[in-house]
C-alpha cells in the first residue's frame, strides 16, 4: 500500500463522520498536502509581458476571434465571441497590442498547439468602458442576468469548464429545488477554493444570492470540507450577515472525490444523478465557489472573467501559494512569481495529482479551467512502476465512487471491445483515478478508460462523416442522372421541332409564288378601278390629271409597261 508519501484507508470504517449526511460508494482518504500552498494569502501574480489567450478555454464550440494582429485592446475588451449555444467568449486580460492570432502551446495531454490570441501587454492595464453594473439585480429579469453571465465568459471554475449560463439555463426546463455551492476541494494539493472562501466570502455569498435569484431554488447549501475550519467560519459569518435562512453551510468529510458534482450531491441529499443525466434532472444545480464569485464580479462590478485563483504548489516550487492569475499568463511566469522551480523538480502538471495531466512545456497559458499548477519532484510523485497483470483482487471495484466495475472496463477497453465497455457504463466513469491508485498491479486504468471513451467519440464522428459522404454521393448521382435526363429531353424536343419544320419545308417557295400572284391580281384590280370625282372638272384640272397619268406611265418598269 506504499504509494509515495500518501496513505489511504477505506473510508468504510468511519461512517459516523457523515452524521446526518449520506455516503457515496467507495472513495479514498488521501493525504491532503493542502497546507503546502496555504501558508501565504492570495497574491496577485501581476501582468506578464505576453498573454496567450486560447480560443477554447471551455467545453463546447471554440470562440470566434474578432481581433487581428496590430489591434490595440483594452482590459476586459471582447476578443472572441461565443459561437453556438454551448460556448463562451474570451476577453482581454490586460491592455496591450494583439501581435498574433495563431496556434500556440495549450494545456492539454496531447501537447498539440491550439489557436490563441497573443497580446503584448503595455503594462498600463487600461480598462475598456464597462457597461452598467447591475446592482439592483433582484429587480431584473433572469434572462438579462443570464445574458450578462454569458457575455462575461463565465465557465465552471472547478475544473470542467462547462459554460455557466448553459448550466443555469437548464432551470428553464426543470424546477430547481436545491442549489449546491461546491467549496469542496476535489483533490490533494489544491487549495484555491479554500483560500477564496477565507478571503472573499462576501463576494461568493453575493454571487450565491444572484444565483438564487436566477434559479429560485427552495434551499441552498454551501458545502465545505471538514479540514477547512477557517473557510467554514468565514462562510458562516457571511451567511449570518445576509439573514437569509435558506442558505446553509454544511461540513462534509474530506473523502476523495467528494468534490465531484455527482458525489457531492449524493453526500448532501442522498440522491443519485441519473446515468447520462444531469443534476438539473433531479432539481439540483451545483456551482463551484469560484464560479459564484465570478458571477458576482460579472453582475455587480461588470467585470468579465479575465483572471482566476490558481494554486501553484508541489515541492518542485520554491514558495507554493495561491495567486490571482490573469488568464493567458504562462505557467512559467506564474512559477517565477512563486520563486521559481526547486532543483529537483521532475514534472509539471495542470490540475491535481489524481485527475491532472502532465503538460509538455511551461509556456502553456493559464486558462479558465486551470485550478492548479503542480510541480512535483521524483520523491513526491515517483514515476509509476511497470504494470503487472491484473490479479482480479477487486480493490478497484470497492473504491469506485461511480459504482462501476473497473476491472471489466479495463478488459474491454484493452481489447477494444467498446460496445461491451459501454454496456458496463464506461461513460459514467468520472476518471477520478481511485481505481488506479489502489491497484496493486499499478495498471494505469484511467488511461485505458480515457482511450476507450475518446475512441468511441472518434468512431461516432467517423460514422457521422461517412453518413454525410453517403448522402452527398447519392445527391451527386441523382443530379448527374437528372442532368442526363434533361439533356435527353432537350434532344428529343429539338428533334421534334426539326421534324415539324421539315413538313413545311416547301412553304417559302409556295408563299413567294402566292405573293407574286397576289401582287399581279391587285395590280389588275387597281387598273380596273374607275377614278372617282371626275365629273365637272375644269380643263386645267383635266390637263393636270393627264400629265400625272403620263408621268406614272413613264415611271413604271418597262416590263410592266408592256402589260
Amino acid at each position: 500500500m506504499d504509494q509515495g508519501s500518501n496513505i489511504y484507508v477505506t473510508p468504510e470504517v468511519d461512517t459516523d463522520r457523515f452524521g446526518h449526511l449520506h455516503r457515496f460508494h467507495g472513495g479514498l482518504v488521501l493525504a491532503g498536502h493542502h497546507e503546502l500552498s496555504m501558508v501565504l494569502p492570495i497574491s496577485n501574480a501581476g501582468i506578464p509581458p505576453l498573454l496567450v489567450l486560447p480560443l477554447q478555454q471551455h467545453i463546447g464550440e471554440t470562440a470566434e476571434c474578432l481581433v487581428k494582429p496590430g489591434d490595440h485592446v483594452y482590459k476586459g475588451q471582447l476578443l472572441a465571441r461565443a459561437r453556438g449555444n454551448v460556448s463562451a467568449p474570451v476577453h482581454a486580460s490586460s491592455s496591450g497590442t494583439v501581435v498574433a492570432v495563431e496556434d500556440r502551446p495549450y494545456p492539454h495531454p496531447s501537447g498539440i498547439d491550439n489557436p490563441a490570441i497573443v497580446i503584448e501587454t503595455d503594462g498600463r492595464d487600461e480598462a475598456a468602458d464597462s457597461g452598467n453594473p447591475m446592482i439592483a439585480y433582484h429587480q431584473m429579469d433572469r434572462s438579462r442576468l443570464l445574458e450578462r453571465i454569458r457575455q462575461s465568459g463565465i465557465v465552471g471554475l472547478g475544473g470542467a469548464g462547462f459554460p455557466t449560463e448553459v448550466k443555469l439555463g437548464s432551470s428553464t426546463y426543470h424546477a430547481i429545488d436545491l442549489l449546491v455551492i461546491n467549496g469542496v476541494e476535489c483533490e490533494p494539493y489544491i487549495s484555491c477554493d479554500n483560500l477564496l472562501m477565507q478571503e472573499r466570502a462576501g463576494e461568493i455569498l453575493e454571487g450565491v444570492r444572484i444565483l438564487q435569484h436566477i434559479l429560485q431554488p427552495r434551499d441552498c447549501v454551501i458545502a465545505v470540507e471538514d479540514h477547512m475550519p477557517a473557510a467554514e467560519a468565514a462562510m458562516r459569518a457571511a451567511v449570518s450577515a445576509t439573514t437569509d435562512s435558506r442558505i446553509e453551510v454544511i461540513r462534509v468529510p474530506a473523502i476523495y472525490p467528494t468534490g465531484g458534482e455527482r458525489q457531492l450531491i449524493r453526500v448532501v441529499t442522498g440522491r443519485e444523478v441519473p446515468s447520462q443525466g444531469l443534476p438539473a434532472d433531479i432539481g439540483i444545480i451545483c456551482q463551484n465557489v469560484g464560479t459564484a464569485a465570478a458571477v458576482y464580479r460579472a453582475v455587480i462590478q461588470n467585470r468579465p472573467l479575465i483572471s482566476r485563483i490558481v494554486t501553484v504548489t508541489g515541492t518542485g516550487v520554491v514558495q507554493p501559494r495561491n495567486m490571482e492569475v490573469l488568464l493567458g499568463t504562462s505557467f512559467a511566469f506564474a512559477i517565477d512569481a512563486c520563486g521559481g522551480y526547486t532543483n529537483d523538480v521532475d514534472r509539471l502538471l495542470m490540475g491535481g495529482p489524481m485527475m491532472g495531466f502532465a503538460v509538455h512545456t511551461d509556456s502553456v497559458p493559464v486558462i479558465k479551467t486551470s485550478n492548479c499548477i503542480l510541480a512535483v519532484t521524483r520523491t513526491e510523485m515517483p514515476p509509476p512502476p511497470p504494470a503487472l497483470p491484473c490479479i482480479r483482487c477487486g480493490k478497484c471495484t470497492s473504491v469506485c465512487p461511480a459504482d462501476l466495475l473497473p476491472q471489466q472496463l479495463y478488459w474491454y477497453a484493452r481489447s477494444g471491445n467498446l460496445d461491451a465497455a459501454q454496456d458496463y457504463h464506461l461513460f459514467d466513469c468520472i476518471e477520478c483515478g481511485c481505481c488506479a491508485y489502489v491497484c496493486p498491479s499499478h495498471i494505469p486504468l484511467v488511461q485505458y478508460y480515457r482511450h476507450a471513451k475518446e475512441e468511441v467519440w472518434v468512431q461516432e464522428k467517423q460514422k457521422k462523416a461517412a453518413d454525410i459522404a453517403r448522402r452527398r454521393h447519392a445527391a451527386r448521382l441523382e443530379r448527374l442522372e437528372r442532368i442526363q435526363r434533361e439533356r435527353a429531353a432537350r434532344h428529343t424536343r429539338k428533334k421534334e421541332t426539326l421534324a415539324a419544320a421539315g413538313n413545311d419545308r416547301e412553304d417559302p417557295k409556295k408563299a413567294a409564288i402566292q405573293a407574286a400572284l397576289e401582287r399581279v391580281r391587285r395590280k389588275k384590280e387597281l387598273a380596273d378601278i374607275a377614278p372617282q370625282n371626275v365629273e365637272g372638272l375644269t380643263p386645267e384640272q383635266e390637263r393636270k390629271i393627264r400629265e400625272v397619268d403620263a408621268r406614272r406611265q413613264k415611271q413604271s418598269s418597262p416590263g410592266e409597261a408592256d402589260n
Binding site: Q56, Y106, H108, P109, S110, I112, N114, P386, A387, L388, P389, C390, R392, Q408, W411, Y412, A413, R414, S415, N417, A420, D423, I443, P444, Q447, Y448, R450, H451, E454, E455, V458, K461, Q462, A465, A466, D467, I468, A469, R470, R472, H473, A475, R476
Partner: protein, 193 residues
C-alpha cells in the same frame, strides 16, 4: 389415422397459403443486407474495391460476388465488422486493392489551378468548388480522401495532405505494456454476461 393426416395436411396447406400471402403482401423492397453492409463501409467512394462506389460494392458483397477484404480505406476494422455482420471469418486486406492508410485530404494549389473543372467532375462527393476558368478549391471537411480528383488534373496542382490532428481528434493512447509478463490473455469470456 386418416383424420390426423387430413387435419395436418389441411393445416399445412393453410399455413403455407398464409405464409405465401405474407411474403407477397409484406415484401421488403430493397435488400436490407445491402443497407447494413453499406452502413459499415467508409463511404469514401474511391472505387479501390473495383466497384463504382461503396453501395455497388455492398451490393456485390450481398450477392456473393465480392470478397469482404477489398476496402483499403476501411482497413481491418471494416473487415472485422463485415465479418461479424455476415458471419464469415475475417481475412487480411487484399493487397491487390491497396494498403490501408491514415485518412488524408487533398488541397488544390490555387496559384497553379487553371480552372478546367475536370476535378470537379471526378469528385464523388461534390467536395470541390469552382467554375470554368475560375479557381477551384476543396471543401476540406467534405473531402473523403478518395484521391479520384488527382489523375484528371492536367497541371498536377492537387496535393495529398494528412489530416492535421487537433485536440478534438486526438485520442489518449493505450498505455504501453511494459511489464515482463503481459496480462494473461483476455479472461472476459469466463465472466461474460
Amino acid at each position: 389415422m386418416l383424420a390426423a393426416i387430413l387435419t395436418l395436411g389441411i393445416l399445412a396447406a393453410l399455413i403455407g397459403l398464409l405464409l405465401g400471402y405474407a411474403a407477397i403482401r409484406f415484401r421488403v423492397e430493397s435488400d436490407p443486407v445491402v443497407e447494413r453492409i453499406d452502413a459499415l463501409l467508409p463511404q469514401t467512394q474511391c472505387g479501390q474495391c473495383t466497384y463504382a462506389g461503396c453501395r455497388p460494392y455492398a451490393e456485390a458483397i450481398a450477392a456473393g460476388e465480392a470478397d469482404i477484404n477489398q476496402c483499403p480505406p476501411g482497413g481491418e476494422s471494416t473487415i472485422q465488422a463485415l465479418a461479424d455482420l455476415l458471419g464469415q471469418d475475417p481475412k487480411p486486406l487484399n493487397p491487390e486493392h491497396g494498403e490501408h492508410q491514415e485518412k488524408t485530404v487533398v488541397v488544390i494549389d490555387e496559384e497553379v489551378c487553371i480552372g478546367c473543372t475536370l476535378c470537379i467532375q471526378a469528385c464523388p462527393v461534390d467536395a470541390i468548388l469552382g467554375a470554368p476558368k475560375l479557381m477551384h478549391t476543396v471543401i476540406t471537411g467534405e473531402c473523403t480522401g478518395c484521391n479520384l480528383c488527382i489523375p484528371p488534373c492536367p497541371v498536377e496542382c492537387i496535393a495529398i495532405v494528412p489530416v492535421t490532428q487537433s485536440i478534438d481528434t486526438w485520442v489518449w493512447p493505450l498505455p504501453e505494456v511494459r511489464s515482463a509478463g503481459s496480462p494473461a490473455g483476455h479472461p472476459a469470456h469466463s465472466t461474460d454476461r
